[in-house]
Symmetry: D2
């Protein structure tokens, strides 16, 4: 493939390892990032943070800026949400991950450990260039209409702007199948890991769109070589303000973590 | 469809008509927007502006900020490019259209008549909200992985932010077919025109990816009810800095305009 | 493209013209094939045959063997249906087209003028080889998951078996868009006509899935260079035993024929 | 989902178990079906049969009737191929699986243990109905443009015709991604197993299209709950007459079997 430099194994033969406060991605262990789709209140994120920590999560996720398709649905608690997330992470001792949707929000993420770029912004190059100047790892989700080459090109944009700590994430693509929300393209995991030294994790929640599919997709991702999982967990799914159908309860999440670790160990 | 208000025909029963300095889109005529993929020099945009004006174009397009997939290819002349475009438009008497890629560029577009949002930014909601505050028409291209509902949702984002002058544009979607660059979804034109009062135009250049397909796709779009066409024209395709394969020469463009007008008249 | 011989313009520089009892496809005129999705009774096919003849159809279609996805829905009147179709065609003076689903049915089609291979059987090579021995034109519909190359390869299978009278038909492909039943890939028409000498027609009914989209898709196909249209018409759509949503009434069909002829004349 | 009866868990609450000469599919073990894409000679299939048996295969596959896209490539040894396959299976003590492409071939399959319907024939209903009268298990591959509902509908066609021993097989779908040959839709495995009592296996070879991806896709399928794998193995890939790129050598196959068993045991 032409036009790839910083993402290639020629440039960086060893696997890149991301280390945030001791929690690692890409070192051969299995990173487990969990938390609610959206931070809804201080109480909610503290409750869920404790639950996912107890169940084996290694990082806490939660959305404060939600790039919702419709302008008339819950768009997130914004700076207040970020504050609660950081406090909850500190309380339970987990590094935090949250999604940015606009360059103007960067300062608000100063205490967040990993900044996520969502699928809808994977080719928002202004944002990618700005994140190239930030001294934090970037979790880059695959756009649902984008190829492996385009995922790597977007990583190149960030890296060429100065930030080489990029984590790639498969989260499903658009196809004709409607039973699932998106089609989880498990082949992207070994393919990307062949093409690049960057870590590759998987989000089973969005492609599943149904909570009962999250376990098999998680295990499939681990078996295919994923460096980690990012899973939506909510202790009260019926009250969730977004993506309620794909929210897992903590007990089910715990069972998935246990099985995922078994599969990882079996490889 | 839920969550649609400002884009619906219930909200605005008549077709929205966009008027920029006398050139209209959505009034029953056929708008013809033409020009190079990228503005490459003052001389180049002046030459092409004259050529497309002579061939029947009603507006001049040209890219100054190019959201290129790879960071290592030509990214556009930026503010200098915008300046040349505006001068060329004035010289030949055509309103201008150019693509914005980041909110921070808005001030540079003050003399551009219509601001285009490209396919890769269709769900860059920060940009959409910022353009909702601008007093200019917005040309919103369909994301290549996005549904009709999502196109309309993005238009709702702009409109709910204060700007009701939105033009939708079909430019092809990602499918398994590789003979064409994208699959031109001609059904989107009559479908969107049923669902919304906003004008709908077509870009035949990007889905074609081959100059010889631009004529049949243009005529198909007009026959399906498109309010206009946006076509890439270059007088020296061999020297074009981007999308050379899909660049039409002015004489071929003139022939398409003539046939498109015949089809329009036949309906 | 490799492995193409009989379908190429090198093999046959002129356009192939199919002539069935004076009705022609591929000679520069616009063939109009119309009739019900399924033949439901003698009375129904005679009524509709008269109506489509009066509205400008040049051939009569009707399904007797229906390859329905579910085994529990109406599968067609089979040999009885074929008999009614042929009689109706003779009564009104229109050649007939009907779909075959299995090699064992070939003898039953002896009085049918054109044998159709449906999308689901486009790569049923046993059937294609058998039709290569038949002395009748074959109308080959594009499989909804198949590329242009595969359409041409299937035509090669028929031609290499001895029958060079093949008509290709675009009828929509599977994509992520759910507003339409399939995505009508209008680009296939000019692309196939560049690659092969065989006639290319369009079926706007199946991709539309909604009767109101059939007119714009028909006109788009004609503008893109289609040699003909095959349209589902039913005089009592509410009683139709299959595909009721996409069945056009005769008066609407007549209006489409008139406009299609205008677009054709404008080119 | 409407129109499903015999495939549902309401009709048959327990998992269906297929037993061919002691080798089982669907009983909780992992079936391993392996062999060459095409049977090329008696010597070739005997060599590969021994190799896959030694590496842990539970059944032997080999194609004698190849539904090749192009009519100008190797179409298989036909009846001679079937004879060699059956002899090789007996020699090494493995039940056999081979693909049928036409109803007229059924008698030739009398000594084959499982008859496979390939992706291109998944909706060849005449063939499915004929196989409904056969007293052998049918391995039904998902069409590459077909949904889960359509896979189940095709199984209903076979079952409603009298044969309830159907095995479903995921083998990848058509999407815009071109790095892999098809997109392996791993979600289909747990989804189908929820919807039906029939066993579900996976073919990692065709979606991969590259031998190095077959291991991760195999392990992903097993982790997602597949009842078995069907893998293309060739001891001399450079000489293979079809699908050489995706052919695994026996030593690599052995390693996959070992890891697949470890993953299965870990669940």
């Amino acid at each position: 493939m032409a036009d790839f430099h910083l993402t290639t194994r020629e440039y960086h033969p060893q696997n890149t390892i991301i280390d945030v406060g001791g929690a690692k991605i890409g070192d051969g262990s299995l990173a487990i990032i969990a938390g609610p789709c959206a931070i809804e209140s201080k109480d909610q994120i503290f409750r869920i943070a404790s639950a996912v920590k107890a169940s084996g999560a290694t990082m806490l996720r939660g959305g404060a800026f939600k790039p919702r398709t419709s302008p008339y649905t819950f768009q997130g608690l914004e700076d207040e949400g970020i504050k609660y997330l950081v406090e909850a992470g500190r309380e339970v001792g987990l590094p935090t991950v949250s999604e940015i949707t606009d360059e103007s929000e960067i300062d608000l993420f100063k205490d967040v450990d990993i900044i996520q770029v969502g699928a809808k912004n994977m080719q928002n190059f202004g944002l990618l260039h700005a994140l190239g100047k930030v001294d934090k790892p970037i979790l880059l989700k695959r756009g649902f209409g984008c190829t492996y080459e385009e995922v790597l090109s977007s990583a190149e944009h960030i890296m060429a702007s100065g930030n080489e700590r990029v984590i790639l994430c498969e989260r499903g693509i658009r196809t004709f199948e409607t039973y699932t929300r998106f089609t989880f393209d498990v082949s992207s995991i070994p393919s990307l890991k062949t093409l690049t030294h960057l870590p590759v994790i998987a989000d089973p929640s969005h492609p599943a769109g149904r909570y009962e599919l999250i376990e098999p997709l998680s295990l499939a991702a681990v078996a295919a070589g994923a460096d980690g999982l990012i899973i939506e967990v909510h202790d009260r799914p019926d009250e969730a303000l977004c993506d309620a159908n794909q929210a897992l309860k903590p007990d089910k999440f715990e069972s998935i973590v246990r099985k995922a670790m078994s599969v990882k160990a079996a490889l």
